[in-house]
Symmetry: none
Subunit: 416 residues, 2 copies
């Protein structure tokens, strides 16, 4: 028994979007232990879609469709599937009611074209979509063949998959031999350097350990196969412990942890508070911190001092130091950190000032040069110079700056 | 005549990597005007790969493979293709020489396993790989069928595609008819409502018009087929003009435009400046604005007033109004906007305060309720109430909040 992922959408054939849905579903199928040997992408074209269904239905037992469930005429997935199996579409009162309510919540009236989204093959079960108007289906058009449809919008698809498809597949006996993975996250060390440090672990068979590069960080994925989650976790735990010891301070968290969530937990545990002063990141550090629910317990806010006048007026940076050392300097980073800490009356003040590019770099202050300031509880202030490289993109330099600022606070907190 | 993209690799089936190669090749095929209706992903398994070749060779005339050209035993693409067509592999002295030289360059000796990479089907042409050890091939195993193979490493594949595949395809007469696309972007209207407004256009044949949903926004993609870029643009231009007129104020930009870049251009054109005061977005609005290079010309900074004390201390919000109306209220949004505008001495002040969730919602102030304040040039201040819906994620509510704030400034600027 195996599954095939079928992604429907002309935008995929034109290369307009990256097929992240196939990756998500592939990971999910692996976790449930459902074999999956093929992925197919096809456009919004009924003839070709039918041909794809014909091939897939002859070689696998579970067909998972994404895309083509929208309200517009080129959204044809559901009706084409029904047509292929010679089953009529019926309008679901339940879906009509749900869509009407969702429009009402936003103060709008349902468009007539949304009615199309309430048509499902006779005998299919509805796969509710809590966050959008396009519901999916679970349907057995014939014995031994199960069809799932999901909208193409990734966030809607993820939620529907976890809420309904996973419980359904488990009820069918899947997930008995499962693969559990744990991703250990490291900041401040490169992929090859970490791989060399843990080389003895990279040939293990169960669990396996594989390094891969994230966005500015490195991860080690430990994957164990076992009959249940507990047994898999028991295989993972001792290896995780050893890898974390090898990683030392470079290890910062696992799985859903982010540098912002880890820093947040440290501050919460000690009853300390944080404020930020941002120049080149323009709010990105604050955004990372406040992406964590409950961050108001320790994060009080900050100042986006993009223009120098704001650094002076709202943070108390000395105009003569701006003049002498420039906005991108250790001195200004330190004054920004002290300024925001004192004005917002927090335990810590964290600042960033740098050259994010693509223009604005000079020989002495190239693109990628960033100073991070950290004013701490003992009225001490430090600064850190980072050189992220002039070949990096503006967006990546900003991301690295915000993450490195959080990482400096994390290391300082842990060492003190 | 059409092409199919076939990506080979078990790592794709496990979801370990995102299939960016398929997106790159799809864009390239579109630019050359080569129709492409299918993409297939299959693992490093000869039987299944042969089945995929069989299906593809029966429906298209150009097969483009990526992946499975490496030196390890699980890299099977080239030998499986040769085997399928019953043609022997021969060792290429040219490739051996090239790989040996590349190893020598790095002071290394070629591994015996790399010898495998020099085996190509008899009669195939070599597609050189300037940056890696895995060459590709161009091969006509039978009349009317052309096969390309590329390594899976994106940077190597891109280079080989441009250096050799594109000139080859052009020499075969491709690229005479090209496809150009333009994506029009709309904010403040749903996909179905926009599709109804432009329904007359959705049946056009050249250019075609197709709606699709982005992250909180809707796009109309206009695609034209023509003999050259200029001719395609001439087909697109009148349709674009009409669609923009129908879209009215909901249309905000095209292709790489973002709400932040569009607002930035308006401010730059009038020499006006902007500051922001953010509560629930925590810096996300500032981050969006500063993602645009050169935004320092009009964006001066702002205050992240996550905690109420910061709203009072740095923005001058009245404590009694916070008490009476709550932090999430039109009154507070307006005071935040005025406060930041006056303190940073900018033309406009834009503020956001809301309930991003997942907790913190009440019956009267549910998750998804957001107030946007806008203090303008004529010392006027307005506020806007948004209800994004309690079922949305924290991250999406924050994204919608920042975009809607920018959109309100954009509309106000255009109307005034």
């Amino acid at each position: 028994m195996s599954a095939e992922i079928i992604c429907v959408g002309t935008e995929l054939l034109l290369g307009d979007i990256l097929n992240s849905n196939a990756q998500f579903l592939a990971q999910q199928l692996a976790q449930l232990g459902i074999p999956h040997y093929y992925q197919t992408v096809v456009g919004d074209n009924p003839q070709r879609l039918k041909q794809v269904i014909d091939i897939a239905a002859s070689r696998v037992q579970i067909l998972i469709f994404t895309g083509g469930l929208g309200p517009t005429p080129d959204d044809l997935t559901c009706e084409t599937i029904a047509d292929f199996f010679g089953v009529p579409l019926v309008e679901s009162a339940e879906i009509i009611e749900d869509i009407t309510a969702k429009f009402a919540q936003r103060g709008r009236v349902m468009s007539p074209s949304n009615r199309k989204q309430a048509l499902i093959p006779q005998g299919a079960e509805i796969l509710p979509n809590p966050t959008g108007t396009a519901p999916g289906i679970i349907w057995q058009p014939r014995p031994g063949l199960t069809i799932f449809t999901f909208p193409g919008v990734p966030s809607e698809m993820h939620r529907m998959w976890s809420d309904t498809a996973v419980p359904f597949l488990k009820s069918q006996g899947w997930g008995k031999e499962i693969i559990c993975s744990r991703s250990l996250k490291f900041w401040g060390i490169g992929e090859s350097a970490l791989a060399e440090k843990v080389s003895a672990y990279l040939n293990l068979l169960n669990p396996t350990v594989a390094p891969y590069a994230g966005k500015g960080e490195v991860r080690l994925r430990i994957s164990a196969k076992a009959s249940n989650t507990k047994a898999a976790e028991e295989l993972i735990a001792p290896i995780e412990k050893q890898l974390r010891e090898i990683g030392g301070l470079d290890y910062y968290g696992a799985d859903d942890d982010t540098l912002a969530s880890v820093v947040g937990e440290l501050l919460r545990s000690s009853g300390e508070t944080l404020s930020v002063a941002e120049s080149c990141t323009g709010g990105g550090l604050g955004q990372m911190l406040t992406e964590i629910p409950g961050s108001s317990d320790y994060f009080w806010g900050g100042v986006i001092s993009y223009d120098n006048s704001v650094k002076v007026r709202l943070l108390g940076v000395k105009p003569e130091d701006l003049e002498q050392f420039g906005a991108v300097s250790a001195t200004v980073a330190e004054q920004m950190a002290i300024g925001v800490k004192n004005r917002l009356k927090t335990t810590w003040g964290l600042s960033i000032t740098g050259v994010a590019g693509p223009s604005g770099g000079t020989d002495t202050k190239p693109v990628g040069l960033v100073y991070i300031g950290l004013a701490g509880s003992a009225d001490e202030v430090r600064s850190y110079e980072c050189r992220f490289g002039a070949m990096q993109t503006r967006s990546f330099i900003r991301h690295l700056s915000a993450c490195t600022a959080l990482d400096n606070l994390r290391r300082t907190w842990l060492i003190c």
